[in-house]
Symmetry: C2
Subunit: 273 residues, 2 copies
């Protein structure tokens, strides 16, 4: 096995596990969790990307996804949100940059470029490792907030790798909001052209597409909706560029895992159908 | 309203809420969480009692109960496991006594007797307050580990108050195990006769009964099964004294919330049927 299973809990007759491996991409240890239902054959693996401040633990303990996956052939895998165990300049100073805030990109700035390559980590290391280990027929990708951004960007840039893409409360247009500007400057420097490779709106505008309808869930009581998420910008980009998209705006729902838990069942259906 | 709603998250069209009130029983503020489905009429309230080290948050964030309750007329209420904000001698020195470890009893030892009265808090304050506020037709009670002990003890001593009783991994015989001996000594002193009022095995032996079958879920890979939980002692007491009991021993399951999440749906059905 290419990773070490650190903890395992029997769940719904399957297994919730926490894993560790040495990453050649981030040059650190990396952690991920998964739920694997009791089945002889894994058909689908859903990659879940978490948001700011999260680790590999948040989704797998809070979203209630196991119940939806218990009698399927689908497992879900939840990587940590950044490399850990480093002490780069400014890495631990704020919740929205550095540790817990990898933004699923490949950094080019000094120090960060050697480790903060979460885009390559997911695409070229984690997914191939999962393919070797579990031999699924399909991958799909989803995530929340910063992780919704990650799912849209990684999904749109690798359309043949994923059967489907969805997101909860995604940062769809990081080049246009404060969270994105801070992170993209810190990881990529001041050249705004370079930022576009990690902006879902810009990717759709530049011709990136996924053949399947993208599903987005967005709470209307989400405190970050207006300022940081800018869902409408992605709707406009998809409409203007013929990317099929469904956005479910949900009255009264916020940015929390209580929102995610309420609709993860619908997203799992979308991601494996 | 007799309590303040501190946080509220729309969940499954209903509401996950965190509440605070000033308790006349513990003479401290007390916290509890609840999930209330979208319904015009609450028929049942399930009281969930958590285990050692837990707060009002653990169950409501980790057990996935909301999904099972979403389209019912049943809400679930999860009180904190002890008074907070005090600084009694030894109160914060260990995980299994004092804060986070109230053991759902009425203390008689110096200092603790003025505040650590979680039995009375549940029975004479929380439940009447919930009755006033939500006007349910029935209450049921369940819990995990120390909270499973609490559910059995409070349920057996107040059989008319609860429609049904269940427990996950309960400490069924605290007078006979290390966790119980430490807590009962600390809260009640050295008189072992006084301990029996808070021991489910002793209560059944002394004639306490519930008219409905009690349901217990117990993982066989639970690290505390042999040493602290002693499920068999309760089975024997119930058999010898004609208390209807069903214990589901579950191969491979441990003491965690992954275990609880796997079977909470079955327990909810039992508790409201």
């Amino acid at each position: 096995m290419s990773f070490e299973k650190v903890k395992s809990h029997k769940s719904f007759e399957g297994e919730t596990a926490f894993c560790l491996h040495s990453s050649s991409v981030t040059k650190t240890d990396m952690k991920f969790s998964y739920f694997k239902p009791k089945t002889d054959k894994i058909e689908n693996i859903i990659i879940w990307l978490s948001g700011l401040t999260c680790t590999e633990e948040n989704f797998i303990t809070k979203a209630g996804a196991q119940l939806h996956l218990a009698n399927t052939n689908t497992m879900i895998v939840c990587p940590d949100t950044s490399p850990r165990g480093l002490d780069l300049p400014g890495e631990h100073d704020s919740y929205d940059f550095g540790s817990g805030a990898g933004f699923y990109l490949n950094a080019t700035t000094e120090g960060y470029k050697d480790h903060y390559n979460m885009y390559d980590y997911i695409v070229t290391e984690l997914i191939p490792m999962l393919k070797d280990e579990f031999k699924p027929e399909n991958f799909s990708i989803t995530g929340h907030s910063m992780g919704g951004h990650g799912a849209l960007v990684i999904g749109l840039r690798n359309p043949d790798l994923f059967k489907a893409i969805s997101a909860f409360s995604p940062i769809v247009n990081p080049t246009a909001v404060a969270w994105g500007e801070k992170a993209l400057t810190g990881y990529l420097g001041d050249d705004r052209e370079a930022w576009k490779a990690y902006d879902a709106c810009e990717l759709v505008k530049s011709g990136k597409r996924h053949v399947k309808k993208i599903l987005i869930e967005q709470g209307l009581a989400d405190e970050f909706f207006e300022g940081q998420l800018k869902t409408k910008n992605f709707e406009d980009a998809c409409t203007d560029n013929n990317q099929d998209l469904q956005v479910n705006y949900r009255e009264g729902y916020d940015h929390s895992y209580y929102f995610i838990a309420s609709f993860i069942g619908d997203h799992i259906k979308h991601l494996i159908s």
